[in-house]
Amino acid sequence: MYKILVREDLVPGIHLFKVAAPAVAQKARAGQFVVVRIDEKGERIPLTIADWDKDKGTVTIVFMEVGATTARLALLKEGDAIADFVGPLGVPAEIENYGTVVCVAGGVGTAVVAPIARALKQAGNKIITILGTRSKDLLFWEDVLKSTSDRMIVTTDDGSYGRKGVVTEPLKELLESGEKIDRVVAIGPVVMMKFCSLTTAPSGVRTVVSLNPIMVDGTGMCGCCRVSVGGETKFACVDGPDFDGHKVDWDLLAARQRIYLDEEKCAYDEWQKSHAA
């Protein structure tokens, strides 16, 4: 069992757990993920590692309530324990001194970008961060991202904070500004990563995305997470989760994320019924 030491509710529907997992904390690197199973009847879900502390033996995860499992997870309190917490899985993010890197973070992807931006900053890169959410009340970790950024742009869809609009607009302006951009890291909802990749495609600037398809074991055993990259089938759990955004078959990814839509709805309805009772 893995104990939840700290719980924070970042914004409505997005929560942070600091979990005691000393062995995972020793090995964790930016861009990797864990597979979590709440209890005996729980499913295995992948969650990205948002932070870790080797000395204290903790690993931080940030998750959004999207279905029955994450809603169940969100009910856990400090002192509660999670049955399984497996990791660190996946290939760590590539970290080198590339020059200037634009980090684009969308929604819960903000927590995934944070450790990557920090590592890129430590490697000597100039970091320009674009942080986008739907509205001000869903914005979190602006301060965390700011601390590793040379420049920071915040967008909200409704204009309630920062610049009104979506992340691809400032991204496009940066690419066209004449400033030399060496790399883009875009992590957030599939549609955001797709349009960031389309935005950077004409310039050819390498654009790294982090894919989060449905997984079961997370160790290459089942092939549920297969994605098509450059016409080749890859397993996101062991070949990724980071891939070249210009080569990802986004429509396939989006379609495969909808495989269990009916079952997810059924489970969520069941859960809400039992939870209400």
Binding site: A23, V24, K27, R37, K41, G42, E43, R44, A68, T69, R72, A83, D84, F85, V86, G87, P88, L89, V216, D217, T219, G220, M221, C222, G223, C224, R226, S228, T233, V238, D251, L252, A255, R256, R258, I259, Y260, E263, E264, C266, A267, E270
Partner: protein
């Protein structure tokens, strides 16, 4: 010499019509009377051919004699001194090609039903003997430590033998339960998980420490494990990477690897969704591509989950099928339909990315290939379409590269298997042994157990060196 009795005692099975709708065990096992009757057919030959046919060298005539004498505790002791997993082996070993094929009575086409008797002894023990009575006394500790990676049949066997020799053993298992393919792969109706758990518990009772959720290669490399104070490592990580056909349409929704389908059903208990959280899709018309035991297991699971039509699509003929005869017969009895000498050319889908069918070729058999089986050749112009809403690809598996790719000094083949000495399991890397599917590619439970046993012997010799 006593008169030979050539009437094998049949083992009762669930009615095919009923069992196609439940996950309860198909084979029901012998009663004590049936077991005694079958045991009484054994002629106790001087030349113990059956023992040589057993990869873990169970003293078969001795445990059969004990059943005959009605001394069941003795039968348990004899069996478990060589085999820590008899309930599992009695159910899933291909005895017909091993101990039973070398039985003297096999010449008369009536070998002793050794597998059924083994199963009976294991089941009798679980029902009648408290765990403390079946746990052998702990040997004097040697002070040496061995890490076993993987808790499938190879790892469990190596761990049990090493613990019985007094070594400190820790198993590292990547999943959240121990048992490997016995838990995630083989379905409940063929191998109840309660039995696997009981035999895993037995291995733990020998003093083996089982660490779950531990992905070696990620959490620690082999060199880091050795540096943590382990004197030797046994790699028994199996062949966990699913193979696909690599044809168009294979990433359509509704197309599973057998590993994924079976993991969802067996390990995650998707057949109990939504009480259990993990879902699985159940089509009305399901095709399973492949002809091995995993293909039969997948097809029979799909049937039990409510499919109307389940097809086995296999590119050779029935004679070349690698599945056990018994399992092919079970599948056929339950209503699985066989489309033999058939191979998918591409999968067809709709605008929502869901599979709607497979375009297949008819095949014919040509000259024998490397495997000695006749090579299937496409019959020109024979394309036809099978309507489907689910496909399960059961073409076999390869070793997961997670460990070999993170280990310096381990030799692998082009198939990703680890190179190890056939007799001892020793790899070219100092203090590292390997055995089971990670060395051979996908094979059987008992051959993996045999490899675990031989490696344990070699590790013990090294540690006592």
């Amino acid at each position: 010499m006593a008169k030979l009795n050539l009437n094998r005692v049949e083992m009762p099975r669930q009615d095919p019509k009923k069992r196609g709708k439940n996950f309860n065990e198909v084979a029901l096992g012998y009663s004590l009377e049936q077991a005694k009757e079958e045991a009484s057919r054994c002629i106790q030959c001087k030349k113990r051919n059956c023992v040589t046919g057993c990869p873990v060298e169970v003293d078969i005539p001795d445990f059969i004699q004990a059943i005959r004498d009605g001394d069941m505790p003795a039968a348990v002791r004899i069996l478990k001194s060589k085999n820590a997993l008899p309930g599992i082996c009695g159910r899933v070993c291909p005895q017909e090609t091993q101990c039973e094929s070398t039985c003297t009575l096999a010449k008369k086409e009536a070998p002793i039903a050794i597998g059924r008797l083994e199963r009976f002894v294991a089941d009798w023990e679980r029902a009648n003997m408290p765990a403390k009575d079946s746990t052998p006394p702990r040997p004097k500790p040697t002070g040496r430590k061995v890490a076993v990676v993987g808790s499938g049949p190879a790892g469990l066997t190596a761990a049990a033998d090493l613990a019985r020799l007094g070594h400190g053993v820790t198993i590292f298992e990547a999943l959240h339960v121990a048992g490997g393919v016995l838990m995630y792969g083989i379905p409940e109706f063929r191998l109840p998980k309660e039995i696997v758990q009981a035999e895993v518990d037995f291995v733990a009772s020998l003093g083996v420490d089982i660490k779950l959720d531990s992905v070696v290669g990620k959490l620690a490399t082999l060199d880091e494990i050795l540096a943590q104070g382990y004197d030797a490592i046994f790699l028994g990580t199996g062949a966990g990477l699913p193979m696909f056909l690599n044809i168009d349409g294979e990433n359509l929704n509704g197309i599973y690897s057998a590993n994924e389908f079976l993991t969802r059903v067996n390990l995650m208990k998707a057949y109990l969704f939504p009480d259990y959280d993990t879902p699985v899709k159940v089509g009305k018309k399901v095709a399973v591509v492949g002809g091995g035991n995993v293909a039969m297991d997948s097809a029979r699971c799909a049937l039990r989950l409510g499919a109307d039509d389940v097809y086995i699509i296999y590119r050779r003929s029935e004679a070349e099928m690698p599945a056990r005869r018994e399992e092919v017969e079970n599948a056929r009895e339950e209503g699985i339909q066989f489309k033999l000498l058939t191979n998918p050319k591409q999968f067809l889908g709709n605008d929502k990315n869901w599979v709607t069918g497979a375009e297949c070729h008819e095949m014919e058999l040509g000259e024998p290939d490397d495997s000695g089986r006749r090579r299937p050749v496409v019959k020109k112009g024979s394309e036809f379409v099978v309507d489907l809403d689910e496909v399960i690809v059961a073409l076999g598996t390869r070793p997961n590269p997670l460990i070999s790719s993170t280990t310096v000094g381990l030799e692998t083949t082009k198939y990703g298997t680890v190179v190890a000495d056939e007799e001892t399991g020793k790899t070219v890397k100092d203090r590292v042994w390997a055995g089971g599917d990670i060395v051979t590619g996908s094979a059987t439970v008992i051959s993996a157990m045999g490899a675990g046993k031989r490696a344990a012997k070699s590790i013990d010799e090294y540690l006592r060196g």
